[in-house]
């Protein structure tokens, strides 16, 4: 029967010891342990949050980088295109100019040649005239060196005139 009857002495001791244990544990054990665990849990959740945030930021940064890269690439292409066009234009220009210049040079050369030719022709004419004169003179002189000859000529000439 005394198995299921509470014992006064043990009850007193239990009350005393359990209350003291509860007080000491609550103050010196549970408080620091739970504080540390809570602090750590908070730290971990904060770190996780930060990681998540960083991830999102990284993604945004990456997207931004991609955008910049894309833009840079487009710009580069644009520049290259323009440069190519400019170069082509310059070449075309240069070609045109060169052609013009060449044409000009050819033209002036032709003019020079023409004028030279004219001058040469004039000179040649003069020369030929004087040569003709000389030749005529020499021929005349030859022809007229004897009286016979002078007579023949005059006859011939007279013949010619007659014919006319």
């Amino acid at each position: 029967m005394d198995l299921i009857l509470p014992d006064f002495g043990l009850l007193v001791w239990t009350g005393l010891v359990f209350s003291l244990l509860m007080f000491l544990l609550a103050k010196f054990a549970w408080k620091p342990i739970l504080n540390a665990v809570n602090t750590r849990e908070q730290k971990i959740s904060e770190a996780l949050e930060l990681a998540e945030k960083t991830k999102v930021e990284m993604q945004a940064l990456k997207a931004e980088n991609d955008q910049i890269l894309k833009e840079a690439r487009a710009e580069r292409d644009q520049i290259l295109k323009e440069a190519k066009e400019a170069a082509l234009g310059m070449v075309e220009d240069a070609k045109g100019k060169a052609k013009d210049e060449a044409a000009k040079i050819v033209e002036s050369a032709r003019q020079t040649i023409n004028s030279e030719k004219a001058a040469a022709m004039a000179e040649l004419k003069n020369h030929v005239a004087s040569l003709s004169l000389e030749i005529a003179e020499k021929v005349v002189r030859q022809e007229l060196s004897s009286d016979d000859k002078q007579k023949a000529l005059a006859t011939q000439l007279a013949g010619e005139i007659k014919m006319n």
């Binding site: 005394d2 509470p6 043990l10 359990f18 509860m22 544990l25």
Partner: protein, 368 residues
């Protein structure tokens, strides 16, 4: 042939030595009286003024615990003055033969009968009516086996938890190591699965220290009770006084935490007709007490039953008076002991869990 001879003589020595250890206590027990299993088990699961280690009940090896009596002032003396006192055999009116120990030395004037201390009457004897003495009892505040076990268990919990707290104090909020690593998941389990799961999430913080204390108190003392020799083996958490006190603590916490909604449900149950409301009042009032009462009985019965089963299984050997029965009784006792390790944890968990459930019901806000 020679070798076989040597071997058989060695075997003889071993058998002789074994028989000396095994049958020695038996021989004595047989001399005194027949082995009474029920008495032995009851003796073990009840409180005592000594911490018995080995040998017969009287005159064996024991740690004699201090006796503290309040009887016109405090009296302190060792319980050996009872156990090594004068054994008195009386025959009561109903012709029952009863034994009690009369105190000697500082224990003079008192007698120990079934671990209860009585004052001797004017004739210097205990006066029996049936099996119970009618003598007056002094207030017994002795450090009994259970009190010693209580002190030891509490000290152990304190040392363990202060070590863990010391780790965090020294290292800050870092990942736990050593003892802290082992205990932190259990502490977090009590906080999250017991307190947070059953009590309103804005109010549970306040109750976590109580639930932690009650859980570790029951668990560690249950485990100490499973150790068969000193400093374990006391049936502390299977003692009705302890479970009564713990259940009473839960009752107090519940009653003092009760809010308007809780008392409203007890004294004027909403949602039912008025006659039923009146009818429900006594039922709900009784309900306040039956819940912790169930806690008290559950812990007491579970732990006491565990001790009884292990002892009963071991006793099979002594009932049959044959060592061969150990082949059956030892594996069975081992199995139950291992099961009891689970039960030790489970009962602590259940006690804390149900306490949290009752507290949770007491602080719950009205349903939306």
């Amino acid at each position: 042939m020679q070798q076989a001879g040597k071997f058989s003589s060695l075997l003889q020595i071993i058998v002789f030595a074994l028989s000396f250890f095994v049958f020695q206590p038996f021989a004595k027990a047989a001399e005194e009286e027949n082995f009474n299993v029920g008495e032995m088990i009851m003796h073990h699961i009840k409180d005592a003024h000594e911490w018995h280690i080995t040998g017969p009940e009287h005159g064996g090896t024991s740690v004699y615990l201090p006796v503290i009596l309040h009887d016109n002032g405090f009296k302190f003396f060792s319980s050996k003055y009872f156990y090594h006192g004068k054994e008195v055999t009386v025959t009561s009116k109903d012709s029952l033969t009863l034994h009690y120990m009369e105190g000697v030395g500082p224990a003079k004037g008192y007698a120990l009968y079934h671990e209860e201390i009585y004052k001797l009457n004017n004739e210097g004897v205990l006066h029996f009516e049936g099996e119970h003495p009618h003598n007056a009892s002094p207030t017994d505040l002795s450090v009994t086996k259970n009190v010693a076990s209580l002190l030891l268990g509490s000290l152990l919990i304190l040392v363990i938890m202060l070590t863990v707290a010391g780790f965090y104090r020294k290292n800050g909020a870092v990942a736990p190591k050593g003892l802290a690593k082992f205990l932190e998941p259990i502490i977090v389990m009590v906080r999250d699965d017991i307190a947070k799961a059953n009590i309103d999430k804005h109010k549970y913080h306040k109750y976590v220290p109580y639930l932690l204390t009650i859980f570790f108190f029951i668990w560690i003392n249950n485990m100490l009770g499973l150790i068969p020799i000193i400093p374990g083996g006391a049936n502390l958490t299977g003692n009705i006084t302890i479970t009564l006190f713990l259940a009473f603590c839960t009752l107090l916490v519940t009653v003092f935490s009760g809010n308007k909604n809780y008392w409203g449900h007890i004294f004027w149950m909403p949602g039912i007709p008025v006659p039923m409301k009146i009818f429900m009042i006594p039922i709900e009032l009784i309900g306040i007490f039956t819940k912790p009462f169930a806690l008290m009985i559950r812990l007491f019965a579970n732990i006491t039953a565990g001790h009884i089963i292990v002892l009963a299984l071991i006793s099979i050997i002594f009932i049959n008076k044959n060592i061969a029965w150990a082949g059956l009784s030892v594996p069975m006792a081992l199995f139950i002991s291992v099961l009891e390790i689970l039960v030790a944890f489970l009962q602590g968990f259940l006690f804390a869990m149900l306490s949290a459930l009752f507290i949770g019901a007491a602080v719950e806000e009205a349903h939306h």
